[in-house]
């Protein structure tokens, strides 16, 4: 079974957070910790719908803040995952964590169950910027968390946010350098976005918050590319950097438009060409799973051409780009028949490069990746 139909990757979502940050529009539940036990129980039941263990190459536990679970619940979650999603011997198992939620005990638990990679939401090392993002940790929590992880787990990734109102390019530069001093294997840099409905979005609509200008955002993005590649990182996806051999294998599944399982509230899955997303409401999720129903919010199956276009848009995000041969095999469409004219236009504009076998974004193409992909769909 080809990897774009049959999953070898699994995502598991844990929605609980100590506090809901103003910019965040993930499926998050704050202030309802009493639901944790029921939730982990429900997750176990949803996993059990697999009916038999499904071996995978990658697992990613995201959130929310998975490490915010109490140690016993965390332990139970890890055990359920191991039972239903046995990891290949050389597999990758990532988990997301906030700096303040990690301690030696939890790290030991993770390591004992086989977690290989921890992605820490550092975001910034400037207290004011952390405050503006409504993060509850201090800059010093980050090195402490990294140290803690290092004791037992080999790979550390740091998430950083740029484009925060009030942030300067110099601020950003210092954040990058402080992150590098912690010697992470992997860095993800996210431009702050104003997601509809979030408190941040409301403040922007109300005029209390002024987004950074395009020039500053561009300068910050370019600074990240410069600083991180100078430090030996590969810019392997629009917003992800890794030391050689340390790319996140799980996330690469998404950008290849390959198949993956998804469990938990708000989780997405892509199995046999069908996309599904679970409800984003934690109560609803628990209720429906216990009632033996599918906790779905939406599902869609795209016609072949749209699926091919989606594949093109996603694969273009990768430094490896789109390989003509693989693309044809995966989608059944000839890349040039599908989008030749647009690709040529973008190549003329210097946004993509095309060596005949493979099409990929140039540096300036990466900067306008979204606008470019919107045109390809």
């Amino acid at each position: 079974m080809p990897p774009w139909l049959h999953p070898r990757a699994a995502y598991v979502h844990v929605p609980f957070c100590a506090h809901h940050c103003g910019y965040c529009d993930f499926a998050v539940t704050a202030g309802q910790d009493q639901l944790m036990t029921l939730y982990v129980e429900a997750l176990g039941q949803e996993l059990a719908t697999l009916s038999e263990p499904c071996p995978v190459d990658t697992v990613f536990i995201g959130g929310g803040t998975p490490t915010y679970l109490t140690p016993p619940l965390l332990e139970r979650l890890l055990a359920e995952i191991r039972r239903w999603l046995p990891l290949h011997a050389s597999g990758e198992w990532s988990i997301e964590a906030t700096p303040e939620s990690l301690d030696a005990g939890k790290v030991a638990l993770l390591a004992d169950h086989g977690v290989t990679r921890v992605s820490i939401g550092a975001q910034s090392f400037h207290p004011q910027l952390l405050q503006r993002l409504e993060r509850i940790h201090n800059p010093d929590d980050v090195p402490r968390a990294v140290e803690c992880v290092r004791e037992r787990i080999a790979q550390v990734s740091l998430d950083l946010i740029f484009g925060v109102p009030g942030q300067s390019v110099d601020d950003w530069d210092r954040d990058l350098r402080r992150a590098l001093r912690l010697q992470p294997e992997h860095v993800a840099t996210y431009g702050l976005t104003y997601e509809k409905g979030t408190p941040l979005w409301k403040r922007w609509q109300g005029g209390q918050v002024q987004p950074l200008g395009e020039d500053d955002e561009l300068a910050m993005y370019c600074r990240a590319m410069d600083v991180l590649s100078a430090a030996g990182f590969e810019h392997y996806e629009v917003s992800n950097f890794a030391r050689p051999g340390r790319r996140c294998r799980h996330n690469q599944v998404y950008w290849a438009n390959h198949a993956y399982f998804g469990f938990g509230v708000g989780a997405a899955r892509y199995v046999q060409g069908r996309r599904e997303m679970n409800t984003r409401d934690t109560h609803g999720y628990i209720r429906r799973v216990f009632a033996g129903e599918k906790p779905l919010l939406q599902a869609e199956e795209l016609p072949p051409e749209e699926r091919a276009r989606e594949t093109l848009a996603l694969q273009l995000r990768r430094a490896d780009g789109v390989r003509r041969g693989e693309f044809q095999e995966q989608t059944g469409f000839d890349l040039d028949a599908l989008a030749g004219a647009k690709l040529r236009q973008h190549a003329e504009l210097g946004l993509i490069e095309d060596n005949g076998a493979c099409v990929r974004l140039t540096r300036s193409g990466k900067c306008v990746a979204d606008a470019l992909m919107a045109e390809l769909l």
């Binding site: 993005y221 629009v238 950008w255 998804g262 989780a267 892509y270 946004l351």
Partner: protein, 601 residues
């Protein structure tokens, strides 16, 4: 049923916009029992949807009523007319079917531009004018001042003017009596061969073309064989009648009467307004004088957003034209916009109304180009060509003389605003003709000016300069030579023909600069830099650039984001629906109207 000519009175109600014509007509209908109190609604004759919505009269409305006076029964054929300048041809047509006119003047607003214009129009037709000071019920009425203005501007003796209120029903009998007493009966000869003037027509989906006729001589009868004198077409009268106010059948119409007939005419273009109807078996020797149909002077392009809607748009236009022969349309092709139509209108209000009807009746998405007037060009070869679109201007080398339509424009305004108005006219190449004071406070200013300078926003400007108290009226004088050039717009190096405009050479730089600046604001940024240039021939006179998008990446994109992102992009694409793709550039509808924007800033 024929009425002896001595008991017939034919008249139009004319006035400036909103001076109360339709409301007075209501009173006539009520007083004479043509409609009952129960059937009454305000401005009952304004029966088109758009007339009711906008509260203005757009088409003329003839109606026949019977009035008893001193033991005699009089047949009054009245025509309610529109006041707006775009529809002044409706007034001319109406007057041609009458012997008299009631001229209304609003007792607060006083004499206004169309009051004067319509007054002279009635004089040209040799009509007896019954002046009426209307709306005297208003507490703010300026009765004596307005009577003085009427004396000054129209030579009306205060004693001659009647006083009435259509709304309050004051003085209605006096006006009806004056109609009978002052307006002469029709002069027609009942025993002569039939001659009837065609003064209007409309299309009815059941009855076909309904022709409005005023019998001058002789009698018109049902099943009579008639002939339209201009083309010699012979037809049979199938049905006929009078507007009372609904269409009411009768068997004949005698000399002096007004009514309608049907004769199996499929297309309104088959009946010429102004034509003479005669008896095919006993034809009259000479036709009536008739009158010239107005020529559309304002043109703009109308394009379907989807090229495949072209035929649907053609059908919608054809359907509209069935009821309005004063607008025209011709297929045209623009490099930028594809296939569409060049439409001709009598003025901007007319254009707006046609566009509204189109949008209402068909669900087509349309892109409209900015309006322009017609132009006349004398070529080097000595030919005269009339063009209705900047795209049709020949190369400069072939043009011997470029001519544009000039109008005589009259403004009526408070004297204190004269200075501002004169400055405004000077900026628009106006040639001062004369000033006349109606009173120490109000004056008439007359200018000659290019039509192109007034059709866009002059009316709004006048209103703002005079705080709403100024009015204007214009009539076409003819074409005059002018130093005109075609200003082209290039977007990303490609000329967008639908954006070309014709401007005066002295004005070209300023207009070019403004236009490219405006366009810069209308066109979204793209992935590449877009140059917007204004050019005359090959000479670039202005340039703006739209910087490319430099950064547009919302960074993260993981499993759950994929569907969401795709939907977001689909939404963006839907937002581009009213855009036209010209080369690689998406140009929104607003851009094509950019030239319309007022001169400020």
């Amino acid at each position: 049923m024929t009425t002896p000519t001595k008991n017939i009175r034919n008249f139009s109600i004319i006035a400036h916009i909103d001076h109360g014509k339709s409301t007075l007509a209501d009173q006539f209908l009520l007083k004479t029992g043509a409609i009952t109190q129960r059937e009454f609604r305000a401005q009952v004759l304004d029966d088109m949807d758009l007339e009711r919505e906008r509260g203005i009269t757009i088409q003329m409305h003839p109606v026949t009523i019977y009035y008893e006076f001193q033991g005699q029964r009089y047949e009054l054929n009245l025509i309610d007319t529109p006041g707006h300048v775009d529809f002044s041809y409706e007034v001319s047509r109406s007057l041609a079917a009458c012997e008299g006119a009631i001229l209304l003047v609003d007792a607060f607003q006083g004499v206004q531009a169309q009051t004067v214009a319509n007054f002279y129009l009635a004089l040209e037709h040799d009509l007896t004018i019954v002046p009426v000071l209307n709306k005297i019920d208003m507490p703010i009425a300026r009765t004596d001042d307005v009577l003085a203005e009427m004396q000054q501007a129209l030579n009306v003796e205060p004693a001659e003017a009647l006083r009435a209120s259509g709304k309050a029903g004051i003085g209605i009998d006096e006006v009806l009596q004056a109609i009978v007493a002052r307006i002469p009966p029709p002069p027609g000869k009942p025993d002569d061969p039939l001659r009837a003037l065609v003064f209007n027509s409309h299309f009815d989906s059941y009855k076909g073309v309904v022709v409005y006729a005023r019998v001058m001589d002789g009698t018109m009868r049902k099943v009579q064989k008639i002939r339209l004198m201009s083309g010699g077409t012979e037809l049979e009268v199938i049905d006929m009648g009078q507007f009372r106010p609904t269409m009411t059948a009768c068997n004949e119409l005698g000399a002096g009467q007004v009514g309608y007939f049907m004769a199996q005419i499929k297309n309104i273009d088959d009946v010429r307004i102004g034509d003479t109807v005669t008896d095919a078996l006993a034809p009259a020797a000479a036709p009536l004088e008739g009158y010239k149909e107005p020529q559309p002077m304002v043109f703009s392009g109308l394009y379907p957003v989807n090229n495949r809607d072209f035929e649907a748009l053609r059908e919608a236009l054809a359907k509209l034209r069935l009821n309005d022969s004063s607008f025209t349309y011709m297929p045209e092709n623009s490099e930028g916009l594809g296939f569409g139509f060049r439409c001709g209108f009598l003025g901007l209000l007319h254009r707006e109304i046609i566009q509204q009807r189109l949008e209402r009746d068909s669900e087509l998405e349309l892109v409209q180009t900015a309006p322009n007037t017609t132009y006349e060009i004398l070529t080097r070869k000595g030919e005269i060509i009339v063009i209705d679109s900047p795209q049709k201007v020949p190369d400069a080398g072939q043009v011997e003389e470029f001519r544009e339509p000039f109008v005589k424009i009259s403004f009526l305004l408070p004297s204190e605003n004269i200075g501002d108005l004169m400055q405004m006219c000077a900026e628009r190449r106006g040639i001062f003709i004369r000033t006349e004071y109606l009173s120490p406070k109000r004056a008439i200013l007359v200018y000659e000016m290019p039509l192109s300078e007034i059709i866009f926003d002059l009316y709004d400007k006048l209103k703002s300069v005079t705080h709403g108290y100024g009015t204007m009226d214009y009539e076409i004088l003819g074409y005059r030579p002018a130093d005109l050039v075609r200003l082209d717009i290039l977007v990303a190096g490609k000329r967008v023909d639908a954006l070309s405009i014709i401007v005066h050479r002295a004005d070209a730089d300023r207009r070019g600069r403004k236009l490219v600046k405006k366009l810069r604001g209308e066109i979204d940024r793209h992935l590449f830099e877009i140059a917007i240039q204004a050019a005359i021939g090959s000479r670039i006179i202005a340039r703006e650039t739209i910087a490319p998008i430099k950064k547009n990446v919302t960074a993260k994109c993981y499993g759950g984001d994929i569907t969401r992102k795709r939907k977001l992009w689909a939404k963006q694409a839907a937002g581009k629906k009213r855009m036209k793709q010209v080369g690689q550039v998406e140009i929104p509808q607003e851009a094509f109207l950019a030239v319309l924007e007022s001169d400020e800033g």
